[in-house]
């Protein structure tokens, strides 16, 4: 469970920083970039609480 959450969190961070880089390079439209960043934010907020702040031995799943 914790590892899955970490994957989603990483995805969330990638969706936060990669679209702006693609926009800077002219490979993505601004509207698409904003939507991708919004999805990244949701992914981070939904997944990070499952592993950040958790003691190392608390993973039950």
């Amino acid at each position: 469970m914790k590892n899955l959450a970490k994957v989603f969190s990483l995805l969330g961070l990638l969706l936060t920083i990669v679209p702006p880089v693609l926009f800077f390079m002219g490979s993505m439209e601004m509207g698409t970039m904003k939507i991708a960043m919004g999805i990244g934010m949701v992914a981070w907020i939904a997944s990070a609480p499952f592993w950040i702040n958790k003691p190392a031995g608390s993973d039950q799943g």
Partner: protein, 467 residues
Amino acid sequence: MSNRFFKKIVAETNEYERTPIPDSSLKGSKSFLGMYAGEHTAGTEFVIGPLFVAHGVSAGDLVFGLLIGNFLAVLSWGLITAPIATSKRLTLYYQLERIAGKNVVRWYNLVNALMFCFLAGSMIAVSATAVGIPFDLEMPTLTDWLPRTPGWILTVLLMGAVITLVAIQGYSQVSKFANIMSPWMILIFFAAAIVGLAQLGVNSADSLISVAQEVIWNGVPLPGMSRFSIWHIIFFAWFCNMAMHIGMSDLTILRYAKSWKYGFTSFAGVYLGHFVAWIASGILYAVFLQANATSQEFAPGAIAYQTLGIAGAICVVIAGWTTANPTIYRAGLALQGIFPKVQTWKITAIVGGITSIAACFPALVMKLLDFVALYGLLLMPMGAVIFADFYFSKKMGFQAEGALSSGSNFSLPALLSWVLTLGFCLGLNLMYGVEIFFLGLPGWFVAVAIFVILSKLKYPTKPSLAL
């Protein structure tokens, strides 16, 4: 690990409040790196960067000023605060009580609590600029001191009520949430810089320099704003956390450090929050000004939303909220030191009320640079007193920790060092026009000198019988 550590410190649990930290509870450098990185990427960053742009600083002055000023801030933490913290391993409040006495500490707590209320108020106002977007709320402008519309007052008061209710419930959940959001918020600042530069037409190193110099930080202040030089930037970056380093607030945090060298881990906070984030938020504001050339509107939420969409607006809300909430909590703690018998929730509710009313006034946001400088200046003399007591008591021949050693609740040298230093700074400001950003440095030396002289008179070391 760092989160639990941070929570423990900020929540001021009953552990080691009046005793030195035992060796078993000391923390490694990673805890401090994480804490400083998170704490200095906050809601204030969305205001300070744009205000530098509005004050017409030039690009070179900004970059070199921030590099130098932040370096001096790191040195202050590393060479002034941390050695005392790791030697004494006491909280600021207890250390101050031993030197200045309980009665002086009460006044210190009151000033501290009021400053915390105003800081939290400004952060509620910053969050409101994002919350108001879907309601088409009329945003404040750079020259506003009073609220523009009843809608602004209603939004701010509602937000203040919600934040106060959450603060009454306790601190830990918000602390956890702030820690969770910290890595994402740092990336949002990087994203803001990248997108902003693209919108301003940057596509090469040459164009980056020309856009930075001619568009973003072009050296021309907006109407009604004074012009900032490199000296303003150096001193602001150095002293924006004056209360924490030379003001010694971070004794409470750094007393957990295994080594005094951990004071230098503050570089993680200042170079992320007070370099990257300030530059990024300045770029965001420049994009806003390009699209709204004649606008005097100053609304961090709307500015972030324009460039980054919903993620930008939410980041402003979260940054403002997660800064306001612990600040209200800290203000409550400071007031509880004065009124120990009043229940915590009542104190927090009163603090939340004062904060919410303060947040109605946009002046707190528009004058945030001045307010931050004032906040540090008001508390700095007591840090100088702790420094002088620690380093000069033996060398200059007076008793260390005067209140404790004389069994008194009141130390006249400490009180006079505080009051006379602030009087001296006020005099410099009124008579010689020295701006508030530059008062901290001479003030610190004056506070040290006054304390040493008065302590030698009031608490002289008893002559040794052996001689």
